[in-house]
């Protein structure tokens, strides 16, 4: 990657990290508030809600930022991956709320599956992009 590419990637990573950090804090606050009004009934899905944006967002994009040779994911990859993390986060919040209320819903499965499909689509498309990028560079070097 060129210096310009690196600078652009840095900016994008910074922005993404900030958004995920805010979402992580919001999730932590939301869980804490929800537990305050749940009369001692707790749910792991609610308690650990913040882990989805923290691990799936902050941690992943921090690693992406540290490893400079990895390019910024394409818009498609980012959209799919962010949607996956968002789906898991909302699904976890809803599962927690249902557990605290003392009920269940078969539709919760939709969140886990849809989240997994979207996140996987984002990761796979990124891997393909990286692989193609390397191939292209290798081809260019050999041609020279």
């Amino acid at each position: 990657m060129s210096i310009l590419d690196n600078e652009e990637k840095k900016q994008q990573i910074k922005k993404t990290l900030s958004v995920y950090a805010v979402i992580t804090l919001f999730c932590g606050f939301f869980s804490w508030m929800y537990e305050q009004f749940s009369h001692g009934v707790v749910s792991d899905y609610m308690i650990y809600l913040f882990l989805f944006p923290l691990v799936g967002g902050v941690l992943v994009f921090a690693v992406l930022g540290v490893i400079q040779r990895w390019p910024m994911p394409s818009r498609f990859s980012q959209n799919a991956y962010h949607a996956g993390i968002a789906t898991w986060t909302v699904g976890s919040a809803l599962q927690g709320a249902l557990e605290i209320y003392g009920t269940t819903s078969g539709y919760i499965l939709v969140y886990w599956i849809a989240g997994a499909v979207l996140a996987a689509a984002g990761i796979i498309s990124y891997c393909i992009m990286v692989k193609r990028g390397y191939r292209k560079r290798t081809f260019v070097k050999r041609s020279i």
Partner: protein, 320 residues
């Protein structure tokens, strides 16, 4: 595909989709009524099942809702503010203070287990079909009633009521149920050990699926460390216990208010044990906890501790 690559358009559209879907799931879970069977109040019950696998209305007469209560003659009953006695049913209500909590105890003696019955909200077995305990009690001509297990909040867990099997889907091997047999005896079973059909064959008249069991064979069967999530703090509680077959206690405690803290599950078990029960079982608590006697709500039901009002529930256990 081009739309999918746009930075904000996709995000906005997906967020809207996620909100709409979540709203729909919440409505389906908490609001939209799903009727599975309408219980005929006068005969055996009429099957309008949408889920045939959960319903078997092959039982004989006397199995539907408040059939027996309809025939109950209360004209010779001696009724006071705290007692009821008609020769077949004898009820004494006492109010006591333990653990900084007001506890209402109904001591019940009946001549037949038929007087210990259950009823569904709106006479209907289904999900999100609810009414207040006092309203269901009124429709069932109940003398005394407490809230049941709120079966409608779950999709699994055995439901046998008045001799009819409504739901045979197991809630898992950890689920403890209260079984009331045709001889008036109580037993606490684990859904992992026995099927709903086997319970019915063994003479189960009522199966309540909430729990856990509080007292078994006269011994407290929960410990402070083993308490389930929902039981760790002080809350309004509802419990039912058997001293002897045809001699029962129904207990409701106030909670979540400055006047009445509420009970932990272990405190409730200790209290039930002190009443001399051999078997006791925890029913739905919190805002659902309600005791109705002669049409009057005795306790102070509350969900948030600020407003005293009855919560609508799926079902009741009653004497009548």
């Amino acid at each position: 595909m081009r739309f999918f690559k746009k930075p904000y358009a996709f995000g906005i559209l997906y967020t809207i989709l996620l909100i709409l879907f979540t709203g729909w799931v919440a409505l389906d879970t908490f609001v939209i009524p799903h009727t599975y069977a309408v219980v005929d109040q006068s005969t055996t019950g009429e099957n309008t099942s949408e889920t045939a696998q959960t319903l078997s209305l092959s039982q004989s007469a006397g199995s539907g809702g408040s059939t027996d209560s309809a025939a109950l003659d209360t004209s010779d009953a001696v009724v006071t503010e705290n007692t009821y006695d008609d020769g077949n049913i004898s009820i004494t209500i006492t109010e006591t203070r333990e653990y900084d909590t007001t506890i209402y105890v109904a001591d019940i003696r009946v001549s037949s287990v038929e007087y210990l019955s259950t009823a569904f909200a709106q006479g209907t077995y289904g999900r999100n079909i609810t009414e207040t305990t006092s309203r269901i009690a009124d429709q069932a001509n109940a003398i005394l009633a407490i809230n049941g297990d709120f079966y409608g909040a779950q999709k699994q867990g055995y439901v046998i009521r008045n001799g009819v099997l409504y739901r045979s889907a197991s809630a898992g091997s950890d689920q403890e149920d209260l079984v009331i047999y045709s001889d008036g005896s109580f037993d606490i079973i684990n859904e992992g050990d026995v099927s709903a059909e086997e319970l019915l064959d063994a003479g189960a008249v009522q199966v309540l699926s909430f729990g856990p069991g509080l007292v078994e064979d006269g011994e407290i069967s929960v410990t402070q460390n083993e308490e389930v999530d929902r039981a760790k703090t002080s809350n309004p509680r509802t419990a039912i216990g058997m001293i002897d077959p045809l001699h029962y206690v129904m207990v409701v405690s106030d909670g979540r208010t400055s006047e009445s803290e509420g009970l932990t599950l272990y405190e409730l078990a200790e209290f039930m044990e002190s009443l001399g029960v051999t078997t006791a079982y925890n029913l739905d608590g919190g805002g659902s906890s309600t005791m109705v006697f002669n049409g009057e709500v005795l306790n102070n039901p509350t969900t948030d501790g600020r407003k005293i009002s009855e919560r609508s529930v799926s079902d009741i256990v009653y004497i009548g």
